[in-house]
């Protein structure tokens, strides 16, 4: 095949994909604000997406905080600046690592689960069945998951932030010779509101990305087990990439740099 034809086809496929995602997003956003509303399903999804993600987010946050404290201590040691550990830990966790780690962990856990569930529903015609039962599949399936993820991620991140700071605190007080009360005072004095809120705003956006990619890939999965497998992989990969890209953009916007 002609070299230019290959490039052209790839670009057309990409543009078609972007168009489909945009249309899907538009349909979902429109569906959020028009009845019927499925409160019970939203509650279920908050449990599944938010509450059940707590252990994995907490565990990664704890170890990230601990490692961060250790690294900053070792690095700071070169300049005789070990004392800065609490400040850097709280800044790094709340602004950056808390939301990104929560986002990536939930992307792996939830985007995959959503894509597999909706993908299976698609190939077994359950999504078509919803339509024939006078129920809008976007309202019934996508909106509760999207709202649940947008609501849950900031809470997960807030929990992750606290646990991450705790991880740094534990390593610093037990291994690095910090005094607990001084460590905490330095943390609280240094952290500003905007450090925390900027992280929580990021988290909400990441939640949106995760649920959207999970639902989109599930909804448009092609027939059979292989199709659902591909949808699951695509959901995780695309949400991770978009989270990292959005993180950069959001950081630039939120801190006006």
């Amino acid at each position: 095949m002609n070299f230019f034809a290959i490039i052209g086809r790839a670009i057309l496929t990409l543009l078609a994909q972007i168009g489909r995602v945009a249309r899907f997003t538009g349909q979902t956003l429109a569906a959020i604000f028009s009845p019927p509303f499925y409160g019970r399903l939203l509650g279920q999804q908050i449990m599944r997406i938010g509450y059940f993600s707590l252990p994995v987010v907490g565990l990664t946050a704890l170890s990230t905080g601990a490692v961060l404290a250790l690294q900053i201590y070792l690095g700071g040691n070169r300049y005789g600046a070990e004392a800065i550990v609490p400040q850097i830990v709280v800044l790094g966790i709340t602004r950056e690592l808390g939301p990104v780690i929560a986002g990536l962990m939930v992307a792996g856990r939830v985007a995959a689960a959503i894509a597999a569930e909706l993908g299976t529903m698609k190939v077994t015609e359950q999504i078509d069945a919803l339509t024939t039962l006078a129920t809008n599949p976007i309202k019934y399936l996508v909106v509760p998951r999207l709202l649940a993820a947008v609501i849950s991620l900031p809470f997960l991140t807030a929990a992750g932030d606290s646990i991450g700071v705790l991880g740094g605190y534990l390593v610093s007080t037990y291994n690095l010779g910090f005094t607990g009360s001084i460590y905490l005072k330095n943390t609280v004095d240094f952290a500003k509101n905007e450090d925390i809120t900027s992280g929580l705003i990021k988290a909400a956006v990441f939640g949106f990305i995760i649920a959207l990619m999970g639902c989109y890939n599930g909804f448009y999965s092609k027939g059979g087990a292989q199709g659902v497998g591909a949808a699951t992989t695509n959901a995780v990969v695309s949400s991770c990439i978009l989270i990292l890209a959005a993180d950069f953009v959001l950081t630039a916007i939120l801190f006006h740099t």
Partner: protein
């Protein structure tokens, strides 16, 4: 005397996917309270025809009328009253595996028609009885049921809201001959019971003969023969002859690629 308004009317319906033309101008009329079966080989667009009427797919050209109303491009909230007239039995059942059997049957009542859960549950159990299932099945999960039982539950779900039109997608595929006959009988009795119009697609000729008043054969994106079921053996159409007798030799060449 004016002719009655047909329940379903397809006029010149065309649908293509990319370069592949699936429906190439279909004309079909289904009268009220009749039972029409569309026959045709796999991949001839039978499902596409039904999904176009249901609004899951939108035709590229042509008109679809229900009760004389043009519904071809009806979307969103404007379509809701129309969807309440429909019931559908899917080929694989398409039961919601996250919900127990009774909630599957009651789903359209609760979500689509806004019936209270307790009342919808009573109706669901009553409809399950109509398809020969006892109330203890109501609390099982669809994955615990055999293929024939799933079909029955799917049928109960399709008739739960007393639809005016019921679509059957390959109702007997994947069932043993005895269970297929039981499902055929249930289809006939339930459709009559609800007073509905039925439109089915199948390639099972035994089933097609049994459940239909009229048969239409789809081939090459067009309806090539349409008539009363009693006349299918005298169609004089070589394509129909080959299909109903299941011969490998004849004018129909099976497409290998979907």
């Amino acid at each position: 005397m004016t002719a009655p308004v047909p329940k379903i009317e397809l006029i010149g319906v065309k649908k293509r996917f990319g370069p592949k033309v699936v429906l190439d101008g279909i004309d079909l009329t289904v009268q009220k309270q009749s039972s029409t079966v569309i026959i045709g080989g796999s991949g001839t667009g039978k499902s596409v025809a039904i999904k176009s009427i249901l609004g899951i797919l939108t035709p590229d050209e042509g008109t679809i009328r229900i009760d004389g109303q043009d519904v071809t491009r009806l979307k969103g909230a404007a379509r809701d009253p129309l969807m309440k007239k429909f019931g559908m039995l899917f080929q694989g059942g398409a039961l919601f595996d996250s919900l127990p059997v009774w909630e599957n049957v009651a789903f359209g009542l609760i979500q689509g028609h806004g019936v209270a859960r307790a009342k919808a549950k009573d109706i669901a159990i009553e409809k399950l009885a109509k398809v020969g299932l006892t109330s203890d099945v109501a609390y099982l999960s669809p994955s615990e049921l055999s293929g024939g039982m799933q079909k029955r539950v799917g049928l109960a779900r399709a008739i739960a809201a007393d639809p005016e039109i019921i679509f059957f997608d390959e109702p007997t595929t994947g069932l043993d001959p005895i269970m297929a006959d039981i499902i055929n009988d249930l289809i006939i009795s339930t459709v009559k019971d609800v007073g509905a119009t039925a439109l089915s697609i199948t390639h099972d000729m035994t089933s097609a003969r049994k459940i239909s008043d009229r048969i239409a054969m789809l081939y090459g994106g067009k309806i090539i023969w349409e008539g009363p079921t009693s006349e299918i053996d005298r169609s004089g159409n070589p394509y129909v002859e080959q299909f109903i007798h299941g011969r490998a030799e004849g004018p129909i060449k099976m497409a290998v690629k979907a």
